[in-house]
């Protein structure tokens, strides 16, 4: 079992006919992802990329049996799209959209509570289970199949880590881009937990950045499992100044616990193999797995 998405996932695309949706849906189909259709309100009944277009997610679920949705809807309407997907019974929602107002996400996240649904993102590169399903915007060829799980707040840094793992002779079970916003559906700890409990994952790479306490929570969780699987960790932003937002809406040092240094210390205390240089992720994992 891989986590979140696999070859049996039936994927719909919300914001299917827009330029981003069209481009990435095409890439996903090319990768072999089972894209069964898409949603663009007002364009129901049309066909796009040889797949049916629906007016609502509910229609799409009813007609296709979709269980995974990827969202490319513009920021002003994205929180609404997330809630629509949850209401329609989608099990895994992956929100790529960057720039959703925090106020909207607070409401959307609250709406999802108690429902049998997992939200990944927003402002994330998506999720990939190599050779099975790519539900995201990552370059698929970088992710080789293997047994290392990957959790990251960042897009390109995830690709970097995947590439290093491949060069170190390792591959990936599932890579989860959790997103760089202040409010995200699946915090680091929850994503790590999915991989910790996955039979096809032997080890985990956890990539965080400044701001928030997600990495610290994840570190405490990892320790609580008795460090069942080895984890290699990196925190981006060791040189970031306090009080300045570093690109991602959530990447800002407010208090002392937000710093890379504080996070790296907690992670090391919890038995995570913390690397200082982002160039050492792959090789460190190879060493750790050799024992």
């Amino acid at each position: 079992m891989s986590v979140l998405v696999n070859k049996d996932s039936k994927v719909i695309v919300q914001g299917f006919t827009g330029s981003e949706g069209t481009f990435h849906a095409g890439q996903m189909i090319e990768y072999g992802t089972n894209v069964v259709g898409g949603v663009t309100p007002g364009k129901g009944g049309q066909s796009h990329l040889d797949r049916p277009v629906f007016n609502t997610v509910a229609d799409a679920v009813k007609e296709t049996g979709a269980d995974v949705s990827i969202i490319f809807v513009p920021p002003a309407f994205a929180a609404d799209a997330i809630m629509e997907a949850a209401d329609a019974g989608i099990k895994v929602i992956i929100a790529i959209t960057e720039g959703i107002p925090v106020k909207d996400m607070v409401v959307a996240k609250e709406y999802l509570k108690g429902k049998d649904v997992t939200l990944i993102g927003p402002n994330c590169p998506g999720v990939i289970t190599p050779e099975e399903a790519k539900v995201g915007i990552m370059p698929g060829f970088v992710f080789k199949k293997g047994r290392v799980g990957l959790v990251s707040k960042s897009g390109t840094l995830t690709y970097e880590a995947a590439d290093q793992l491949a060069k170190a002779g390792l591959g990936i079970s599932t890579a989860i881009g959790i997103g760089g916003d202040p409010i995200i559906g699946t915090p680091t700890k929850n994503a790590v937990q999915l991989l910790m409990e996955d039979d096809e994952t032997d080890a985990i790479v956890m990539i965080g950045e400044i701001g928030g306490n997600y990495e610290a929570q994840a570190a405490e969780y990892i320790k609580s499992t008795g460090n069942k699987k080895p984890v290699v960790g990196f925190i981006a932003g060791q040189t970031a100044p306090p009080g300045r937002r570093m690109g991602h809406a959530g990447a800002i040092i407010g208090g002392a616990e937000d710093t890379a240094e504080a996070k790296m210390r907690i992670m090391a205390e919890c038995g995570i193999h913390v690397v200082k240089s982002p160039a050492d992720i792959g090789e460190t994992m190879a060493k750790v797995l050799k024992g």
Binding site: Q164, A236, M246, G247, G255, S277
Partner: protein, 403 residues
């Protein structure tokens, strides 16, 4: 986005939050006029002259040129002009501005609200912000008004009152009463505080704010509750639905290079180091800064060219980095996913040729989609650019360049 105190107070007033009244002025003459008007409106005969910059610590901060503090009291109308003159146009240095300080273009002439009366005036602290861990807003309050709240939280955490707001129902009456009681208020002041908190929360919700900090909130000698200062931070992602608030942006408060970068859709933050960098993706950009430090340099900037980088935006990024005279080398680190490496390579080559005499080493690391085509473009350009494929090699080349 940050806004000035005078703008923040106007925003709050619109929601029925009681404020220390004031009028903004650009010149000493305007300051005197403002004081006269304020006297007519409020009856105040003392005036507070407050420098308007986007940084805290103004009261203790000093104007470099004149030695005046950033917030001063004028005890007569005649004092207003000279006191405003000692602040306007000066450079205010506070513990938040850094040594270079910030130029003061406006002062707020505000009424004196610490007048004597039936009871002692008392200062409180109140803020609203997002609790990221809990995924909801939190109201924070303290009896230690006027103090640095981080110090209060550190030394006497029991003095910080927290009330979390359920997103499904919003702020409830019992919550604001709880806060007001915990602050030790009673009678008229208690009622006023409850109203104050509700009006403040409504303003916060309606304006897509990311932080409100009212420090101090004052209980006056006649039991009114007023915002004496107001720090308002708005969620940039929410500004599209608040055109009026978006117009409050004061670009003179921002680094000119950062403003220019914004025009090209680039996310740029200027830093103090000697190695510039241009990267796609915020996380990789921070990681690249870290690599620079580990290679013996200091990052000169954060620069994310984003997912739609093309020759034009890359050229703009190049020019912005080159404006910084401290930059001794530039590392371009692109992992091509959405953005194709060949497009970036074209941008680098075009920019390099347009700018002409670049006499600092440039290291270009392109990996991912169309990396081979990109390498070919760089190699066939005839430019003196070092290329790298692995992040490790790029780091080593930065080290060589600095040696």
């Amino acid at each position: 986005m940050n806004i000035h105190e005078y703008q923040a107070k106007e925003l709050l007033k619109g929601y029925g939050v009681k404020i220390q009244e004031g009028i903004v002025a650009n010149t000493p003459e305007e300051a005197t006029q403002a004081a006269k008007k304020l006297n007519e409106q409020t009856g105040t005969s003392w005036y507070v002259v407050k420098a308007q910059i986007h940084a805290g610590g103004r009261g203790k901060g000093k104007i470099q040129e004149t030695g005046s503090n950033g917030v001063v009291l004028a005890k007569s109308l005649d004092e207003v002009g000279p006191k405003a003159e000692a602040i306007l146009g000066g450079t205010l240095v506070t513990h938040q501005t850094g040594a270079e300080g910030k130029k003061v273009n406006k002062v707020l002439i505000a009424q004196d609200v610490y007048y004597p009366g039936d009871s002692e005036p008392k200062e409180y602290y109140l803020s609203i912000l997002l609790d990221r861990a809990k995924g909801c807003n939190v109201i924070m309050a303290s009896t230690e008004g006027g103090m640095d709240i981080e110090a209060v939280a550190e030394e006497t955490p029991e003095k910080i009152i927290k009330e979390w707001i359920d997103p499904r129902v919003g702020l409830q009456g019992f919550q604001s009463r709880k806060v007001a009681f915990q602050l030790g208020l009673e009678g008229q002041a208690f009622k006023e505080m409850v109203k104050f908190i509700h009006a403040l929360y409504k303003a916060y919700e309606d304006s897509d704010a990311s932080q409100f900090e009212i420090n101090p909130v004052l209980k006056t000698s006649d039991n009114q509750i007023l915002a004496v200062d107001a720090k308002v931070n708005l969620d940039d992602n929410g500004l599209f639905r608040h055109k009026d608030l978006a117009e409050l942006r004061d670009i003179t408060e921002e680094d000119p290079a950062e403003v220019e970068a914004g025009k090209y859709g680039l996310s740029y933050v200027k830093l103090d180091g000697n190695v510039g960098c241009m990267v796609n993706g915020a996380g990789l950009a921070m990681a690249t800064m870290d690599i620079i430090k580990l290679s013996g340099g200091e990052p000169a900037n954060f620069l994310d060219v984003g997912g739609t980088a093309n020759a034009e935006t890359v050229e703009a990024g190049f020019r912005i980095i080159m404006q910084d005279p401290n930059v001794k080398a530039i590392l371009i680190n692109i992992f091509g996913g959405i953005v194709r490496c060949d497009r970036v390579a074209n941008g680098v080559v075009e920019a390099y040729k347009k700018i002409g005499n670049i006499n600092i080493p440039i290291i270009v690391r392109l990996q991912g989609t169309n990396a081979e085509e990109a390498a070919q473009i760089i190699n066939e350009s005839g430019l003196a650019v070092e290329s790298a494929i692995l992040l490790k090699d790029a780091a080593a080349k930065v080290q060589q360049a600095l040696a």
